[in-house]
Every structure is written in structure tokens, then in C-alpha cells.
């Protein structure tokens, strides 16, 4: 592919460096800790998102296991009620905001720019900033485990007035709820900023010829998800602001004694909350829509309608929030309206299912591990969707709401849906990102253990719910007929845990010891597979031009045409000064630290500290902005034997903070020559 002779490119000098005081010198380290702390490379940011998300996934899973142990037998005394309440609150908050969302963001960051043929996102520093802010939020949320006040214990939707000072603060310094408020608020900032960036990137940084209707479906779903985020987060932001005002400044938004209406919190929360669940599932659907065509070796069935149905789900998602409130006595008319609107969402979702099956139909299915997860996704998501429709029928929901039936529903869509797809995605893009091949045997084994464990855990919960077991209960009596399903669910959870452990042990092993992957190992269809693995910092040596929907597939089948075009592009690009890459910066990190400090003080009701944190934030933002246009130029290594330091080899160093400073320069072994793409490419002109 990149077989253009380097000689065909004119060389050029880097522009004269600007003089600046030493604290403002630009970090230039390409390896080691500093390079990670100051990075603006979308791939590195993506990796940092991914690793933190996986860490929190394990934390959330660990919390889930504690929950399941407590529920294994009736009237268990393993956990105290209070601890149990903290656990399910943090389990949900962690899984949703610190595991699934950032894991999706990891893929948005890493894969999406590659799929549209871009060199980075539109605002690289903002991107780094979004990550650090995410980390700040994650820290704030989890600080509670280490302080006397304890972790938040109000449930993941924190219904007022349980969050008010009167009911959630056992003593003056009980800030667990404040931590929850500030943590979510900060995470909201991260998500919105990140999403604005993705929107601009997808709309504006597409390679020539990459029209909207040629965008890979994953990129489409990224775009729609980003829209959902920027349009739904404001609602919870306001709700949290109002709650914060109540707690810090004695306002009366949700204060009963002042005539406040706690139901308002529910509305504002779910105006955000329902789009949120689609924020969790749409990226997953995007991943599935990449994997199925690749391994069926034919294009996605009905591309336009899949894209359109995604948009439709996103849009309808804003009009159904009150289906979480069927039991709040909204009145028959409102209940009926939301009931029907909710059912309507089954139609565009069904369209996706049908089209995935259509994609399989007539294909040559390669049963690889990602494909297994993708097929598992269809099955499990469908079941979760059907229990969703059962909820949508409001009278039936009167019996199901806040029972284990809901717990079953949302774990089917969240694990069987989102998590399955994300696991599929990790496996699918692993060779590209880390240049190593994951073992199929261990991959498939982990799939089957996860699949069996998952169903063992959550299928019985349908019966628990219909048999009257309410959720969020730390204990239950032994005479209710709930003993055996609960026990089975606990066993299932451990099987599931083992499956996940197998999956991740395999991944970690592969990261260090796995066999090197061939280029384009799956016979991919989208542009990211055109790159060497792992991709170089600037992604594309030459900006690709796109002629068809499955751009890379087309390239592979029109080699000569593409090669000619590339030489042309390379020339015109180097005439314009070569590749400009944004330069690294400390300021995104500084700004995020300012937010961390400010919100911790605010949670502590220490306003002086909060203001100084805010000041730090503003300072960081100010220092960073005048440099926003600055950029460094780099010359692509067009020879396949390039020695590019790769993220995969040094990422673990992040965890060895002091050591890495010494180790890093020598720690990146040369990447062996990339073999020419082989598997499955048929040159046919």
C-alpha cells in the first residue's frame, strides 16, 4: 500500500521555533510518562480511555460480585444494609459512567478518525482535556470509599428527596452525596466536550470522497451518540446544579418543606437518563455493524436504513423518558402517550436486527471470536429488547417497575448488548491497535463461559421480578420463593466473572507475548485496516481518497487506480508543507486538575478552595488557548521498516510512574517489518 518511494516527496524544514519562557516550552517527549501526560494524539487518548475504563469495569464487576454474594442466600449478613446500598449505587455509576461510556469513547477516539481518513480529531487538546476531566470525575466519585462519610448510597438515579441534606447526611461532614453530584457533573463536562469534538471531526475532517453516506456505520453511530450526549447531558447538568444549590445554598428546588417537587428531579434525570441508555447501546450497534459485514465478507445489508434507524432511535429516545415513571401517577393520558412512544422505538431497533440478519444471509461467515460475540449480541440484545417492550406496556410495568424484572431487562441490554459488543470490538481491533494476534481458542472459550455465565445470572432474575422481588434490597426473607433463583444467579455471576477473567488474562498475555499480527488480518472493509499496525502517529502517510462505501475493500480491489492517486496526493500534500501534527501540551492536564481540585472543595462546601480550583482551570485554559494553532510538522516514514515508537510497548509504563522516566527511551523495541497484506485479498480488476 504505502509503497510510494520516499524520494518522490520534497523535504522541508520545520518552521522556526517560537521563543517562549521555559515554563511554556512545549513538551516534545515521544516516549515515557511525560509523553502520555501531555499527549494530544487521538490514539493515545483512546488508549488511556480504554485502559481506565477496563480498570473501572473490573472495579464495578467486583462490586457486583459482592452484591451477588450478599444475595446468594436469604437474610444474609455478609454486608450491612448501608454498605449494600453504597455498592449498588457505585456499581451502576461505575459501570455506566466509568466503564461502558469511556470504553465507547476509547473506540470513538481510536477508530473513528482512522475510519474517516483523518490525521487526528478536530481539536486534539480538547480531546486530551476530555480524558483528564473524565479521570478527575472518576476520582471524585470513588473518593468516598476512603473517607468516613462513605460512598454515595442513593441509587444511580439519586431520587430526591433522598439526596437532600435532611435524608442523606448523617452528620455535618457527610459529603458522600456531594461527591456523587460533583463527580457526575465533572463527567458531564468531559462527555460533552469530547462529543462536540467528535461531531466536528466527523463532519469536517472526512477524507476526500468520504461522503456522509459512505461513512462506516460505526462512525455514524459515533456521530449520533455524540449528538445524544450533547443534547441530553444538559438536562442532568441542570438537575445536578439545582441539587447542588439545594445542598450548598439552601435553595428549595427539591426541598419538600419549601414546597419543592421531587418529581421534577425524576423528569430532569430521565430526560437525560433515557437518551443515556441509547448512548450506551448505539456505539455497540456500530461495532456490531462493522464486525458482521467483515466476517460475512459482504456489505452491510440496507446501509441507508441502518443509518437512518440509528438516527431515528436517537431522536425518539428524547420523547420517552417518562416510561421510567409509569408508577408515579402521571395520569392516564400521559402514561398512555409515553407507553406508545416507547413501543415505537422497537421498530427502528428491529430494523437493525433484521438488517444484521440480512447481512449474514448469503455471506461466507467466518466464525472468529469477534463474530461469536457479535452473534451473541444479537441474541441477547433481542431478549433484552423484548423485556423492554414488556415494560413499555404500562399496566404490566406497574408490576415490574423496581423489581428484578427491570434488573434482568437492563442487564440483558447492557451486558448482552453493550458489553458483548465492546468485548467484540476489543478483540476485533486488537491486531490493529497493538499489532498482535489474540488466540482464537482462548477467545472462544471466554465467549462461551461469559455467555453461559451471563444467562445463568440474569435469566432467573426475570422470574424473581415477576415473583415479586423488589430491587435494591439487601436482604430478603426465605419464605418468598426467591431462594433458588437467587442462588443460581450468584453462581452465574461467578461463572461470568471467570469468563471475563479468561478474556482479560488472554488480552494481557497477548499484549506482551502474543504473536505479531499480519497487516489487515481480517480482510477488513474500512479505512483503518489500510494502516500498518500499530498505526503511526500521523495515521495516514498520504490522505486517502474514498470512492465507495467500504473504502478499503474498494482499494483492495482497485489497486492501480489507488496507487496512482496516492502519488498525486502525496505530492500535493508535501507542497503544502507536509503533515502537520498538533504539538503536545501540559495545559489540558493542568486545566483538568483545576477542575478536580475545585470540585473536591465544592463538595466539601469550601468555597475559597472551590474558587481557587476554578482559577486554576481558567489559567490552564488561558495558557493553552494562544497555542492552539501551533503545530509541529512531521515527515512520514513511508518505508515499511520504520521504527516508530508504539503505544503498545510502553503503555504499561504509565503504571510505573517514577521508573518510566528512566526506562522509557530504550523501552521501545523496533517493530519488525510489516509483512505485506495477505489473507484473503483477491486482486481482481
Amino acid at each position: 500500500m504505502d509503497t510510494i518511494a520516499p524520494a518522490s516527496l520534497p523535504t522541508h524544514e520545520a518552521p522556526a521555533a517560537e521563543k517562549r519562557p521555559w515554563i511554556f516550552t512545549r513538551p516534545t517527549a515521544k516516549t515515557g510518562l511525560i509523553s502520555w501526560l501531555t499527549t494530544v494524539d487521538h490514539k493515545r487518548v483512546g488508549l488511556m480511555y480504554g485502559f481506565s475504563a477496563l480498570f473501572f469495569f473490573l472495579v464495578g464487576g467486583f462490586e457486583a460480585l459482592l452484591i451477588r454474594i450478599q444475595l446468594a442466600v436469604p437474610n444474609n449478613t455478609f454486608l450491612q444494609h448501608q454498605t449494600y446500598n453504597e455498592l449498588f449505587t457505585m456499581h451502576a455509576t461505575t459501570m455506566i459512567f466509568l466503564a461502558v461510556m469511556p470504553l465507547s469513547a476509547a473506540f470513538f477516539n481510536y477508530i473513528m478518525p482512522l475510519q474517516i481518513g483523518a490525521r487526528d480529531v478536530a481539536f486534539p487538546r480538547l480531546n486530551g482535556f476530555a480524558f483528564w476531566v473524565f479521570l478527575a470525575g472518576a476520582i471524585i466519585l470513588n473518593v468516598g470509599w476512603f473517607i468516613k462519610a462513605g460512598s454515595p448510597d442513593i441509587g444511580w438515579f439519586g431520587y430526591a428527596p433522598l439526596t437532600s441534606k435532611a435524608y442523606s447526611s448523617q452528620f455535618a461532614g457527610d459529603i458522600s452525596t456531594d461527591l456523587w453530584v460533583m463527580g457526575l457533573q465533572i463527567l458531564g463536562v468531559s462527555s460533552v466536550v469530547g462529543s462536540l469534538n467528535f461531531i466536528v471531526t466527523i463532519i469536517n475532517l472526512r477524507a476526500p470522497g468520504m461522503t456522509m453516506m459512505r461513512l462506516p456505520v460505526f462512525t455514524w453511530m459515533t456521530l449520533i451518540t455524540a449528538f445524544l450526549i450533547i443534547l441530553s447531558f444538559p438536562a442532568i447538568t441542570i438537575a445536578l446544579v439545582e441539587l447542588m444549590m439545594d445542598r450548598n445554598f439552601d435553595t428549595g428546588f427539591f426541598e419538600i418543606s419549601k414546597g419543592g417537587l421531587p418529581i421534577l428531579w425524576q423528569h430532569l434525570f430521565w430526560v437525560f437518563g433515557h437518551p443515556e441508555v441509547y448512548i450506551l447501546i448505539l456505539p455497540a450497534m456500530g461495532i456490531i455493524s462493522e464486525i458482521l459485514p467483515t466476517f460475512s465478507r459482504k456489505p452491510l445489508f440496507g446501509y441507508p436504513i441502518v443509518v437512518f434507524s440509528g438516527a431515528c432511535i436517537g431522536f425518539l429516545g428524547f420523547g420517552v423518558w417518562s416510561h421510567h415513571m409509569f408508577t408515579t401517577g402521571m395520569g392516564a393520558v400521559a402514561t398512555a402517550a409515553f407507553s406508545l412512544a416507547t413501543m415505537a422505538i422497537a421498530v427502528p431497533t428491529g430494523v437493525k436486527i433484521f438488517n444484521w440478519i440480512g447481512t449474514l444471509w448469503g455471506g461466507h461467515l467466518k466464525m472468529t471470536t469477534p463474530m461469536m460475540f457479535a452473534l451473541g449480541f444479537i441474541w441477547m440484545f433481542m431478549m433484552g429488547g423484548f423485556s423492554g417492550v414488556m415494560h413499555a406496556a404500562a399496566p404490566a410495568d406497574a408490576q415490574q417497575q423496581d423489581s428484578y424484572f427491570v434488573v434482568a431487562h437492563f442487564h440483558y441490554v447492557l451486558i448482552g448488548g453493550s458489553v458483548f459488543a465492546l468485548l467484540a470490538g476489543i478483540h476485533y481491533w486488537f491486531p490493529l491497535i497493538f499489532g498482535r494476534t489474540v488466540s482464537e481458542f482462548w477467545g472462544k472459550l471466554s465467549f462461551w463461559v461469559i455467555f453461559v455465565g451471563f444467562n445463568t445470572t440474569f435469566f432467573p432474575m426475570h422470574f424473581l421480578g415477576l415473583n415479586g422481588m423488589p430491587r435494591r434490597t439487601a436482604v430478603y426473607d426465605g419464605n418468598m420463593g426467591w431462594n433458588s433463583p437467587n442462588f443460581i444467579a450468584t453462581i452465574g455471576a461467578f461463572i461470568l466473572g471467570i469468563g471475563i477473567a479468561i478474556y482479560f488474562v488472554t488480552m494481557v498475555y497477548t499484549l506482551f507475548k502474543g504473536p505479531k499480527a499480519a497487516r489487515d488480518p481480517w480482510d477488513g472493509r474500512t479505512l483503518e485496516w489500510a494502516l500498518p499496525n500499530p498505526p503511526p502517529e500521523y495515521n495516514f502517510a498520504v490522505t486517502p481518497s474514498v470512492h465507495a462505501r467500504d473504502a478499503f475493500w474498494y482499494e483492495k480491489h482497485h489497486r492501480d487506480e489507488i496507487a496512482r492517486e496516492k502519488i498525486q496526493h502525496a505530492r500535493s500534500e508535501s507542497e503544502h508543507g507536509g503533515i502537520h501534527m498538533p504539538s503536545q501540551s501540559w495545559f489540558p492536564l493542568l486545566t483538568a486538575i483545576g477542575m478536580l481540585v475545585g470540585s473536591l472543595f465544592l463538595a466539601n462546601h469550601n468555597y475559597l478552595g472551590a474558587i481557587s480550583g476554578g482559577g486554576l482551570t481558567i489559567l490552564g485554559a488561558y495558557l493553552w488557548s494562544p497555542k492552539a494553532q501551533a503545530a509541529t510538522t512531521c515527515t512520514p516514514n513511508l518505508t515499511p521498516t520504520a521504527k516508530t515508537p508504539t503505544p503498545s510497548t510502553e503503555l504499561p509504563l504509565i503504571f510505573l510512574f517514577p521508573l518510566s522516566l528512566y526506562l522509557s527511551p530504550s523501552s521501545s523495541p523496533p517493530i519488525p517489518p510489516t509483512p505485506t497484506p495477505s489473507i484473503g485479498i483477491k486482486t481482481k480488476d
Partner: protein, 427 residues
């Protein structure tokens, strides 16, 4: 497969065996027949909700069978069978078929209409007592408090003032629509008796209601279904439906002030043998004997115990004042005046205590009175009931700044026995 290898046979036997044991394990406890089963409906509201549920199950079940069938077929039919197959020439690169797609959309819409129609009907039916029955409906108020329920009967006025109030056990007439006004005194709770009706929330500053009807007399389990803080899990209650005659009798009995057991007050209170009660926290609060016939057991409770000890009861009554139980509880006709805790006027005639958590018997009462926190951690009797800006102290006094607890009321084993005897005598 030439000859059935021994291992294979063994495997089959093992599989059969484990299947059988699995079936018996699962079947032994039926998964849908507990005291809070939504399948075992006992009234029209729950029934209509179940009907809607079945509709959704049928429709989605059929769709599931069809879609999953096609999916399975496609997976099996088109999968690459071996390595060379996997690398064969790619299949035809087809892009879709609008007619199939539109057809499937239409089919989905049709399926949803089948669900929607009964849904809409049931929404209106379950929302409020049907017009024709309005006049016949019996009205009660239910109030949720952290973590127990107060029930009052606005139509059952008392002689001196106010109306009938009970706690944690709602007694209603069977075969007659009951309209329940739902209120809360603090956070959000939810009123759920699965066999009679789906839940409706009790929201602050909002007047919700629910209607239900028990087709037969019976004893029903209910539970708070909205997370309401530390003890949400053990905020339970019961509903007892009685024949019209029994109900009238019950109301008449309840309207009476508390029962007094005559004693010679000058007599020495008996020495009480302090039974050693080792409490395992959250050990089951129920007994299997009770579950065998709950309604009958409830009826038994309405009559005084046979082995009452009048002296002990009198001592208990005295302790009830001395230990300041009266500041939170009311025993109408006796000393209590408090309204922040369950009314205890006829507590002896109830089958449960502590928010439906424990069966009401001597041992459990004693257990609860001596060490409420061990039974129901964090309950408001232990840490005190918030009253506006201040707190009515309970067994402990809480320091508002640090949250530190200092003891306020201490009940030893023999005092507990006396109090239990007294409370049990209140039929």
C-alpha cells in the same frame, strides 16, 4: 461414530441425571408462586395487568421464535465450514432489499398495535375505580415513613377525636373496591401488594392514589418498592382482606381504646427469668407454621393470649412511660401520645412488627425492644425521628456534627420481657 464409546454412555447418563436433578431442584420451589407472585392474582387490577403482560409475552415470544429461527438458520447455513472455505472468493456483494425492509417494518408496527390496544384499555381501567363502582368503594389512606407504613381510615371516626389509625397491617373489606390515597411523610416510597395490584409511588407534595380489590378474604404480602434509604429492604407490610361482617367487627374492635388487663397494682411484679436471647442479625422473621395458614393465624391474634401475666403487663405499662416510649408511640386510652411512630393501641392484634419484618410474638418483640438496631439497622426508633429541624431522640442521641451516637434509652432483658408482655396484651 463406530461404537458407542463407554465415556459417551457415561456422559449421557450423567447428563440425564443432572437434568433430572436440575428439574427437581428448580421444580421443588416453584419460581412463580411466592407470596408476592404477580401470577397468582387475587383481584381485578392485578388480573388486568397480568393479561397485558401475557399479551406482550405472546407477541414478543412469537417474534422471537421467528427471528431467532431465521438467525440460527442463516448462521448455520452460511458459515464457512473449513479454512479453505473461509478464504474462498467473497460472496456476492449485495446491498439490501427495500421491499423486505419495508415489509418487516410494517410487520413490527402491526405486532405493536396488538400490544398497544390492550395496554391502552388497561391503563384507563387500572387508573381509578370504575365509575359504576365509585359509590361502593372503600377509602383508606396509606402513608409511607422511613421505614414503615401508617394506615388510616378516614371514614372510621373515633368518639373523642380523629379517626382510626393502624400501622404496617392494612385491613380491608374483601370483594369491594378499595381506593387508597398514597402519601409520604419523608422520602419517596411505593405501595406494592403484587397479588392485588401493581405499585404506585408515594411522592412528597403529591397526592397519588391507587385502587385494588381482593376477590376473596386473604392475607397478602406487600413491600415498599422504591428505594428509600438504609432500610428500604425491610420496609414491608401486610394486607388482610375480610368478609364484610368480619371487617365491621374488626373496625368496631379497633375503635375501642386499648385493652386493660386488671391487676392488683400493689402486688410485687414477678421476677422475670431473663431468657438468654442470642440474636443473629436478620435471622428469619417468620415461621413456617405461620405461613401454613396466615389468615387463620391472623384471626387467632385478635384474642387475648391464654397465659397472660397481669403483673408483668402492669409493669410493662409502667416501663412504657418511664422509658419514654410514649413520646413517639400512642396507646389510645393509655398513656402514649406520640404520633411519629406506629400506633400501638392494638399492636397485640397484629401479626407483624417492625415494618412487617418480624412475626409478632413474645421473643421477637423482646428482641426488637431490647436491641432494635440489631434487627433493623439504622431504624428511626434507634437513632431518633427527625421532626423538622430537631430530632425526637430514640434509643440513641445523635450528635449532629459528627454523627456520633450516645445511648439514651436502655432496656435490659427483663424490662424487655415486661414491655413485650404489655404490648402483646393490647388486642
Amino acid at each position: 461414530m463406530r461404537l458407542p464409546a463407554p465415556s459417551r454412555i457415561a456422559f449421557r447418563q450423567l447428563a440425564a441425571l443432572s437434568l433430572a436433578s436440575l428439574a427437581s431442584f428448580l421444580g421443588g420451589w416453584s419460581w412463580i408462586e411466592g407470596p408476592q407472585s404477580t401470577f397468582d392474582t387475587q383481584g381485578p387490577v392485578a388480573k388486568s395487568q397480568l393479561d397485558v403482560f401475557y399479551t406482550t409475552v405472546w407477541v414478543t415470544g412469537i417474534i422471537f421464535v421467528v427471528v431467532a429461527g431465521v438467525l440460527t438458520y442463516a448462521t448455520l447455513k452460511f458459515r464457512a465450514r473449513n479454512e479453505s472455505d473461509a478464504h474462498a472468493e467473497p460472496p456476492a456483494q449485495s446491498h439490501g432489499n427495500p421491499f423486505i425492509e419495508l415489509g418487516l417494518i410494517a410487520a413490527s408496527v402491526f405486532a405493536l398495535v396488538i400490544i398497544a390496544v390492550p395496554t391502552l384499555r388497561a391503563i384507563w381501567y387500572t387508573y381509578d375505580v370504575p365509575e359504576a363502582e365509585k359509590a361502593n368503594a372503600y377509602e383508606v389512606n396509606a402513608t409511607g415513613l422511613q421505614w414503615w407504613f401508617r394506615f388510616d381510615y378516614p371514614s372510621e371516626g373515633l368518639d373523642n377525636s380523629g379517626h382510626l389509625v393502624t400501622g404496617n397491617e392494612l385491613v380491608i373489606p374483601a370483594n369491594r373496591p378499595v381506593r387508597i390515597n398514597l402519601r409520604t411523610a419523608d422520602v419517596i416510597h411505593s405501595f406494592w401488594v403484587p397479588k392485588l395490584a401493581g405499585k404506585v409511588d408515594m411522592l412528597p407534595n403529591r397526592g397519588n392514589h391507587l385502587w385494588l380489590q381482593a376477590d376473596q378474604p386473604g392475607y397478602f404480602w406487600g413491600q415498599c418498592a422504591e428505594f428509600c434509604g438504609e432500610d428500604h429492604a425491610v420496609m414491608r407490610f401486610r394486607v388482610i382482606a375480610l368478609e364484610a361482617k368480619d371487617f365491621a367487627e374488626w373496625v368496631a374492635q379497633q375503635k375501642q381504646p386499648a385493652r386493660t388487663v386488671a391487676t392488683n397494682l400493689t402486688a410485687e411484679p414477678l421476677r422475670i427469668q431473663p431468657a438468654s436471647l442470642t440474636f443473629k442479625r436478620n435471622a428469619p422473621g417468620w415461621s413456617q407454621e405461620f405461613d401454613l395458614n396466615p389468615l387463620e393465624n391472623w384471626k387467632q391474634k385478635q384474642f387475648p393470649e391464654k397465659d397472660e401475666n397481669p403483673a408483668l403487663i402492669a409493669h410493662g405499662r409502667k416501663l412504657f412511660q418511664e422509658k419514654s416510649c410514649i413520646s413517639c408511640h400512642t396507646v389510645r386510652g393509655h398513656e402514649g401520645v406520640g404520633t411519629t411512630a406506629p400506633d400501638l393501641t392494638h399492636v397485640g392484634a397484629r401479626t407483624t412488627i417492625a415494618g412487617g419484618l418480624l412475626e409478632n410474638n413474645e421473643a421477637n418483640l423482646r428482641r426488637w425492644i431490647i436491641d432494635p438496631n440489631n434487627v433493623k439497622p439504622g431504624n428511626k426508633m434507634y437513632v431518633g425521628v427527625p421532626l423538622g429541624a430537631s430530632v425526637m431522640p430514640g434509643y440513641m442521641l445523635r450528635d449532629a456534627k459528627t454523627g456520633h451516637l450516645t445511648p439514651n434509652i436502655k432496656i435490659d432483658n427483663s424490662e424487655g420481657a415486661a414491655l413485650a408482655a404489655y404490648l402483646l396484651s393490647l388486642k
